[in-house]
Structures are given as C-alpha cells and as structure tokens.
Symmetry: C2
Subunit: 312 residues, 2 copies
C-alpha cells in the first residue's frame, strides 16, 4: 500500500463538525466560524532537511521556502493570508545562526504579505532539522475555489514558466497571492490549484476532482530557462518539455475558466502583471484522461506518454 492508497483509506474516517466546510483533499481546509463575509482557510506544510532542502541551503532561503509553500496553498484558493505559526524541529547540536537566519528569511516574506508570525515552538529531533508551518487565512464567503469545478470547454492556464525549479526557484519562488486574488476578483474561475508536483500530475488532480479530461498543446507549455539549461548541460536527463510537465515545486497557479473569458483574462493580466507570463496551455474535455497534442498528433499522457518523452 503506497502513501496515496493509505490516505484514501484514512480520509473518509476523519471526523468533521458543523464548522467544517471543506476538509482533506483540497489545497486548504475551509472553516465557517460565523464571520459575516468570510470563511477561514487553514493549511499546514512541512519541509524536511535532506528531503526538501540540503544542509548547504542558506538558512534564510529555507525559512522563506517554508512559509512560501503555505502561502502558495492560500494563493491556490485565492485567499488572504493572516497569521502563521512556526514549528522548528532541531537536533541537540543545533546551529544558532541557522535559526536566526531562518527567521530572517521567513519574517521578510511574512512582512511582504502582511502575515503575522504569531509564535510557534522549537522541539528536539534526534537527527535532521524539520520545519512545519501552519498558516491561517480568509476568503470571501461566496468565493470557495476548488479543484473540482472544471467544465468541458474550459481554457487551462498556468502562470510563469515551468520546470527546473530545483536549480534555485524552489527556494526563492514568489507565492502568487496577489495574482490569485486578482483572478478571483475579476473572473469566474472554475477551478484553481498551485503547481507543486508538476503540471501533468497536478492537472490530473483537477481532472479527477472535476470528472473531466484535458488536452494540452505541446507548443504552448511555457518551459523555464532553467529546465532548458539543465537539459542542455546534461544536469537533467529530462527533455525540457518533460521537465515542464513533471518537475515539482513550480509554485505557479494552474486554473481553468470558461473559454469566453480567455482573451479577456490574457489582456487584463498583461496590464496587471506585465512581468509575469500567463499562458493558455490547453482545454478541458468531457472525455476523461489527459492528452497532449504536438506536430505528430495527439496522444495520451499516461505513464507511456512520459516514457515517450524520455526517449525522444
């Protein structure tokens, strides 16, 4: 039994109550505490030494990343972040400079998004450092975004450029809080999430939750310079397109909206965020499955699809 099968078995057993609007399975939990106009978002996320960062990573960038990941999840719901708590698991022989610089990086990002660092705790570990961040935010009551609202015909968009995050972006990415709020305020988004496991994998979460399929346009996928460079200099065996489809930790937004809004969102975006790409990468289909179209035709983007890319 793998982790996903195990969680699929556990999730239905989790108790709810009258306050719970959305539980496990979306980017954030959604709670109704009786605020007139808003619902509460709650998210936790952990980063672990030698899994999500190496001991060589500058501590300030680790702090920034730890908070940034949860901000990206709040962005996925077009939420407003409010306050976080920091849990820091440290080995007995911890480095005080690491902790000080970790908080400098985290505090800087918190200030940028007006997030209160409301406390937290340090705890002892036997070996490696770990960090867990809990972030509370809000969304307007009428604006619950989820992965499950994509409709056949929807245009599929991504922000930024994809792939090669490991070269550095995974530590320095900018969570798309402002962009997501702008999108949700100006458009009737059908679904949204943040890209953490790669476009192909994450889009599948939207397809599964929405009971639809999708067709991506190969030539439209925005490939990051880092992904191209890694393929060119041999530091990655993945061709750039495969990297853009499958590399993790892009922390960009993936969303779908009705085709009639596609041109309007692109035009509005250019004016609002001139420095950040927004790209229509394909469309949602009634037929299930994930397909990709290129000059050779259209094919399923299953495990064999990836194999094909890896050989080409």
């Amino acid at each position: 039994m793998n982790e996903f099968e195990l969680l699929a078995r556990i999730i239905p057993t989790l108790p709810g109550n009258d306050s719970l609007v959305k539980g496990a399975g979306d980017d954030c939990a959604v709670l109704d505490l009786g605020l007139k106009d808003e619902l509460i978002l709650l998210k936790t996320d952990a980063v672990v030494e030698d899994v999500h960062f190496t001991s060589e990573a500058p501590a300030a960038r680790v702090g920034r990343k730890a908070l940034g990941r949860t901000l990206s999840d709040i962005a996925a719901m077009a939420g407003k972040p409010i306050a976080c708590l920091v849990t820091l698991g440290l080995p007995a022989e911890f480095d005080a400079d690491f902790v000080t610089q970790f908080y400098e990086g985290l505090n800087d990002l918190a200030r940028e998004y007006n997030v209160a660092v409301a406390g937290g705790e340090t705890t002892r570990t036997t070996d490696k450092t770990f960090i867990s961040i809990a972030l509370l935010g809000t969304i307007p009551r009428q604006r619950i975004l989820s992965r499950g609202g994509a409709k056949p015909g929807d245009a599929i968009f991504v922000t930024g450029e994809l792939g090669g995050s490991i070269s550095g972006k995974h530590l320095d990415f900018e969570p798309r809080i402002r962009e997501a709020q702008w999108l949700a305020e100006n458009f009737a988004l059908h679904s949204m999430m943040d890209l953490s496991d790669g476009l192909a994998g994450d889009l599948r979460h939207i397809l599964n939750a929405s009971h639809v399929g999708a067709e991506l346009l190969s030539s439209a996928i925005p490939i990051s310079p880092a992904a191209k460079l890694k393929a060119k200099n041999g530091s990655s065996a993945k061709p750039p397109l495969l990297a853009a489809l499958t590399d993790g930790e892009d922390f960009e937004l993936l969303f779908t909206l009705p085709p009639k809004d596609a041109v309007r969102v692109l035009d509005g975006w250019k004016a609002a965020f001139p420095k950040l790409k927004l790209t229509c990468v394909g469309k949602i289909s009634a037929e299930g499955g994930l397909r990709i179209r290129d000059k050779e035709g259209i094919r399923e983007l299953g495990l064999r699809g990836y194999t094909h890319f890896q050989k080409s």
Copy 2:
C-alpha cells in the same frame, strides 16, 4: 546560547499585523478576525519519535497524545477547540498499520471534543517519525486568559495529581477542556496555563509574566500514585515531591484566582467534577521568587532547592 536565549532574541523580531492580539509567549496565539463575540486561538505542537514517544508506544496512543497536547494548550486559555490539521513525517519504509492506528487514536479524541480533523499532509523524513498538529479554537472576546495576570494574594490551584507521567499518563491524559471552560465561566481567573514542564518550572512562567512571586505549601502538593511508585520501586531517583514539582507532561491546569474565591471554587468543583482533584497548593506574593514551605520552614525553590530535594 541555549534554546530559550535564542528564542528570546528572535521573538521580538517576529512581524505582527492588525489581526494579532497575542503572539509568541503564551499557550496559544490569539487573533481577532472580526467575529462579533469571539477571538481565534491557534496552536501548533510537535511530537517526535524517540523524543516524545518510543517506537514501542502503541500508535493509537501516539495519535491521541499528539492531538491531546494541543487540546491541553487550548484548555490553558479556556478555549473551545474547533478543527485541527495533522502533519505526519514518515520514513520511506513506513508502517501502514502505524498510520491507520495513529489516526484511530487521534480521531477518537477529536470526536470526544467535537474537533474536525480538517486534513493535513504526510511528508517524507530521512529517519524518524514526527507529527505536528495545528489546532484552531475560539474564546469569548472578553475572556483572554494569560500567564501574566496573577496578583499578590491569589490562591494557586492545580487540577489532578502531579508527577510520574512517563509511567503512562503522558500518552493517555485527558485534556482539561471542560474543566477550564467551567472555571472561566464561573470565576474571574487571574492567570492560567497547562502543566507541561512541571509545576515548579511552569509556575515560574506565570511569576515572570506577572512580575510576582509565590509560596507553595509542600504538604499540599498532590503527588500522583505513579510518582510515589516510581520512587518506591527505584525506577526514579526523584523523591515523590520532587517528581510532582519537576516531572514534565502532567497536562493538568495551573491557575490563580483571588483568595475570596478559593472556597467557592473548591466547593463548586466538587459538584462539577467529583472524580478529579482540585488542590490549592500555595499563594502568589508581591515578593519575587518561588519559595516552598514545609515543616522545616520556608526556602527558595531555585536550583539549590532541587538539589536539596534530591539529597533528602
């Protein structure tokens, strides 16, 4: 620089915002999100394999403990717990049964206190298992309890019996949610916290935050049967009274209130919670420091105080 010195340096650097009512330094963070009658409590707490539990501890009890610790912090503020998120760090070779049983124990306790388990995540660790729980709760607006409100003359109370928690209670303790709410509803508590580091150490947090001192009455300290047994059978080198003063993880309530209410709280308690002890263990003094009175007289309970106990 030890952990406490380091945190003392970091805490003043943490950014706040308009929503933050109380940040680092109390049992829970307190946020004002604009609810008419309530404030939000937020707390995270981590337990780590081989630090807070051994690999022999039954998984269901580990799950119960992980959530119970945060419930105890909500109790310390007389709050109402609402929803939690669970972060589970697992080694690559994790045991599916551990995870299933962990959630059974956690879910049972969540149901007992009507807490929604609103999701969470699993993440990979390189070695040991860790768990971090984030818990959100509420308190009535007018009822912010803290460690900083103790006044000279206050009577000092503890619930339950202290010491020897490692014999089993640390895994099975009952968080004092109902008791704390009853206390806060019926009495003007001056200060409250939960006992996690031992009465002597935790009371010092109240004394420091309140700028007062205290005198404990040796014969009044409620010593748990477990602490007595451990001293008797030689499994602990601590005399029972020292264990009751310094053992960690009691997860009982420690609170102070005006002396005029001391008899009324004891009488009311007996009717409300007939199975749980409530004991007046001393009084708050204007003079700083922590003293203990026994048949030999009164002495400072500093490091030398503990040494004295350890020799006796």
